[in-house]
Symmetry: D3
Subunit: 301 residues, 6 copies
């Protein structure tokens, strides 16, 4: 998998807190072409082996000439309702992908991320068709494009459909990098002024929330390569440094330095506030949820 | 905004534990008329600026002569299924709003609450159209009317649709006041004998749960003006005093006195069990999630 | 209720850690026949008393000659989409129930469990029609059958629909026993190599998750009769012994011995690591969530 | 059947050409009540004997408190489309029936006519549910109300749906009496300035057409009690006298005197132009299609 | 095409008026198997060459193990409505085909007839998927089975859907043979007591109608091998002898002897009433519409 | 397409029988732009005056930037089914309009023709939205494009949907000019080798049919400017000369010279076979149906 190597070549810089993601990410056409070829091959194989699924695979993947059309069709059919017709959404997605090519290249980076990091992700087409986190993020990116174009009512209507259908609630103003994995995804909430870097992995039920009824910049900033465990709640305009790890179920109200681990409710740094332990890997990519357990367990049980 | 002043005139009494909400709330026709005028104006503005959304805005808002018809239409289209047709639900909502006018005035109070407390709520129509917490609460109120009329199978069928569509699970027997904000709302669970007062704000993933397989009064009672943070789990027939605050991710198994803050798993009172700190504001309205952080952080990190 | 006695006759063996559920469970035809008769009687009563619901009850229950047809119809209509037609799903469910009769007998055991354990479950038909946890588990069992038949793309497509519609995300490879209650169910996540025994009760927002990006056996094993409270997160290939109880909101990273209670984040055993308290009841059946509270509260507040 | 006698009491006056129907017809509440009672009884009987149809009968008939609601529901579901929602049409029909009670009493007269004249019409509910001619006429009456209210775009949109769904094309401006039977109905075309009297029976493929591209009064006027056979084409602003009969397949371009019979292409009067044969019965009610055959056959074969 | 020869072996007996069709027709399993193999091969070829159609071909044909399932699926999706669900109709068709195997063998005979007689019928799958006459007849046969089982309300509901969707109106009591071609089919009307023999071809807009409001046997009887031209109207309990031909646009009110031709309005026998011309071919199979033209033209122009 | 060259060689001479229509017609962009501007203005006016219709008008007309998108959207929603999704059809129509601009300019010519010739056509938007004949012809033109591209299975599937939805059955191989008015349209049947010139007006129930089971060129050729009355049946490879008129209900089996009138069953030329009367106007445009009546009536009654 060429993209794997490519990703290893450019890890998130470890020496600084790079929080503004480079969205939209640079184009990477060869990845898109390669992934689309893979997806078509997988869908052909599955349609052949499973006639009951062939109709679905043809309508959603195999009848389309390109990834952007397949994805637009799939999202339009998932998100349409009796008052927001699929043809309208299909048009909307197609045009957004066409005028903002980096939205599609970010989708490709997300597909590679899911395949690379999630052992349950058996194929690219599985992610494209079935991962609600993947689909929610792609639809969000289009809502974000609309938001930045000052088409806010439409962005919010799309946001509402994503929240209803996928139970994933990302405010259209939130900025999200590429190479994102929302694993399981149900219940993820990301607030209006939140920022998520590249190569971040976020489990289900994670909240990047605000702190009150004042407007302004009030949501977390998540650095590149961060891993946030299931059910973690991160509140306020705080910074989670690149390569940091947030334990499952943690409630984080304070900044977390790069490459450290925060756990518990309220969250504390593993190794202590003064000299927290630092890890060398990039948890958002390695997906190591639990290496801190022995240290932590010793400490508190 | 007249309602703001009105709300300030009648804060929840701070000296007593007023837990039974005054449901159904008193009528407030002028608010309804004013809010509906606002909603129409907003929808007109948005339909003009965004042709792709105009059809949706006309069908859902602008073609209706009144808020109850618009809301009935919207809920019917959201909650219908291939076996529960939209026309049936539309009839059901219309009649409930017509025979129980306080259900609609509570909806108006909720619209005002969302607009007042949530900085991301940019307009009344945004709340009416897109807030799954708002829509789930309005549909719940109708289910509750059915429940009190001993039309329980229908109440439970409606409850089931709300839980499927919005991932908000409020038992139809639960009593809920007015001026309610369910922010983000995904994953909220409210049990059969729970009671929620007026002007309460509840974040997503909050549970007001029971304690076992025995029937009877077994769920929490939430006082007026309470704020419950994301992911908090409150279990058993306990009382959360008016104006209290529950921190995100807390697991609350004991009574919480008025205007105090409980945090942690298991939840402890900020300031200590004996002399907990008391705050002056009404957190359900001020939405101050995090002012206790410094005190709490000092205490435990 | 005959099944109640029957269940009491065969409690989970308390002396050993029996983690591999006896799936598929033995046939129990008389239960099925008795429950189906009950469901029809309930649906007739409700259709008579509530004309607005009669159409739904006839289409979903009363027009069907048997439980498997009613359940297949109901699941097909719940899970269908514009690209996965209801007739296809109906066929799929019908054939799976027909060729794997233990899938249906497990459904019957689940119906009995819900009625027995959940005081809010007022009738069998209420559970059959409205419990998203019940419906998600039945659909999962069919997805699991497909998975074991190496029809993985179809199993994953079904899994995806279950996750979208019910916000319940059970990997089709996960093995689940009978007599299961997923109460409220929203947000439950069960990973690929997880195993759940018989007579287990699991509340909403519970995660049985993995530990990283390595494949292999990496998810929890839940013994018979276990009760897992709302929002608990259990991570890694650890064992929760039969009859154990996991407190709401706990984050469990270590084995939990049989008939003990683990609470907190990170979870500790009530009574201490060395000599944890042991209870005599089967929490998965007694649904006693909170008896440990006084002990726990004394300990930590 | 009381209505039968009633109809006999007021036969169409035989001595004059009464072409302007007394639309809207006078109210006849007792008929409506009696017919609705019959329909409910029939639907109950059929739901009991045929579980597969019970859901349909409950949703369409038995869950409704009155004929106008049942008919509004049924028409709304028949005529709705992805861009004209059923709830909108339901509202529209309900309001029209409510504000124009004679529209509903005309529907009752049509039900009585179908039952009286068509030996294949086994019950009132059969006509209400299944006769596309009956349903097309009722929907037309609502379109006509809209037309007379100068709501022409809506009238024409409704007209278009009727033409698509039932293949019955009646211009909304056409005036139609009561006691109308459109038997089989497919392909009936009635132009803008056509007028149809009371107690008229029209078979399928009948055209009441115009004569060219000039506007103005250009379509046929059909007197009370006329019978028009299958496939007859009547063109231009001509008068078909009350009680006249038009043979199947005739092409009529000239006035036809009362109680005479016109047949053939082009149509001639049976008995000759000068002294046409006159019949005593009212063919629109007796439905005698063929008594002229022997005379005609002798004449031309 | 083997069936062609087979059909020639058993021409309709020319010496007697055999009007009661041998319905249900004898089984012909080998034909069914051969035709189904053809259909699958055609659908595979078309799915390969036309990706846009592949989804439709898989869902409707290629995912099904047998012709009866494919046809049941296709009819259910064509005829379903918001109040008559596709799963209900699918079940109904499947069971009828299963319990009445001659219904399916008649469908096979119709497929062979269309392929044999209609030069525009380029493949069996084209007929199965696209011929509204073919589909209407198959659905009618199931309605007829229901009628003979005294399930009349369901038969009439199905009849109503056929009339709406295909504009083909065949009373469920009408008896129809096998090897039937309804070409184009729009507007065909067949009354309650009509009988249609084997190997009959009927063009669009043809009426087999009654004569008035009396019940009883009042519709035409059509012998084997008859051809009825477009727009012909045949009224009353008259007999059209086997192998007869009815010219387009004719209005037939009298018996037509075997192997003669009737044309005109009113219809006369070609060659004269006394000694009508007789033809040797079977027009229902040869589809010779116009060989009589020269004779007729000479006669009347 | 051989006919293309042929068409260029022989522009319609007004003095001879020109049967090959000049399809595809030359581009006429200014007409398109002007008509689209009109349609938008009409739709705006109607949306303002009729809120109940505004949603429909916005979704179908006002949200689209161009006529081809509006028409593609409208046709896709009219013709879609549960197995042929609207997004697929939308794509198909859009691409056909884009790659074959003359298809759209022919649509514009048809709009102008309807507005010009039909006094009941009150606006362009009325024709675009509501005329089933107009919509059927536009969809046919796309099916014809597919047919000429050898995408026959898709062309036939589209043909089948047009026949179901509009009861208009035009074989995709039939060649049709521009400036066509199918008035009322129900029941029109046009065979495979039929050709229809420019500026032709055809009423409902008209058949351009074949003569038997032989393939090859077997359907009528209709010259420019022809008017065909309701219910006329024209059979065989015969020629209807330019500017000819066919009376309603006629059965035409012989050539009809230019600018003459044929009426009756079987059709004869008005004025006699040898020296038929000739008219000066173009009946397809003047829509004069009945000027021959006096002459004809004198002749035969």
């Amino acid at each position: 998998m060429p993209s794997e190597e490519q990703q290893k070549k450019s890890p998130p810089p470890s020496s600084s807190l790079l929080l503004i993601p480079t969205f939209p990410p640079p184009e990477s056409e060869s990845d898109e072409s390669w992934v689309w070829t893979q997806i078509k091959a997988e869908a052909h194989r599955d349609a052949d082996s499973e006639p009951a699924l062939a109709s679905y695979l043809y309508s959603t993947v195999l009848s389309h000439p390109s990834l952007d059309r397949s994805l637009s069709f799939h999202l339009a059919n998932k998100l349409c309702s009796s008052t927001l017709l699929s043809t309208l959404l299909y048009d909307l997605f197609l045009r957004s992908f066409s005028t903002h090519p980096t939205v599609l290249s970010a989708a490709v980076a997300d597909l590679l991320a899911a395949r690379h990091r999630d052992p349950a992700c058996v194929s690219f087409s599985h992610c494209l068709l079935n991962y609600k986190g993947f689909l929610a993020v792609q639809a969000h990116r289009v809502a974000h494009v609309l938001w930045t174009q000052s088409r806010r009512p439409l962005a919010l209507a799309l946001h509402s459909r994503i929240a209803d259908v996928f139970s994933v609630d990302i405010h259209p103003a939130a900025r999200i990098g590429k190479g994102i994995l929302l694993d399981h995804a149900t219940g993820v909430v990301v607030g209006e002024t939140a920022v998520i870097g590249n190569n971040v992995s976020i489990l289900h039920h994670v909240t990047l929330g605000g702190t009150g009824k004042m407007g302004g910049d009030r949501h977390p900033k998540i650095g590149d390569g961060v891993l946030i465990g299931a059910g973690a709640t991160i509140l306020g305009n705080i910074r989670i440094g690149e390569g940091a790890k947030i334990g499952a179920g943690s409630v984080v109200l304070i900044d977390v330095p790069p490459r450290t681990t925060a756990v518990g409710n309220p969250a504390r740094l593993v190794g202590g506030k003064e000299k927290p332990s630092r890890h060398e890997d990039v948890p958002g990519e390695s997906m190591d949820h639990t290496s801190f357990i022995s240290e932590w367990s010793d400490y508190i049980i």
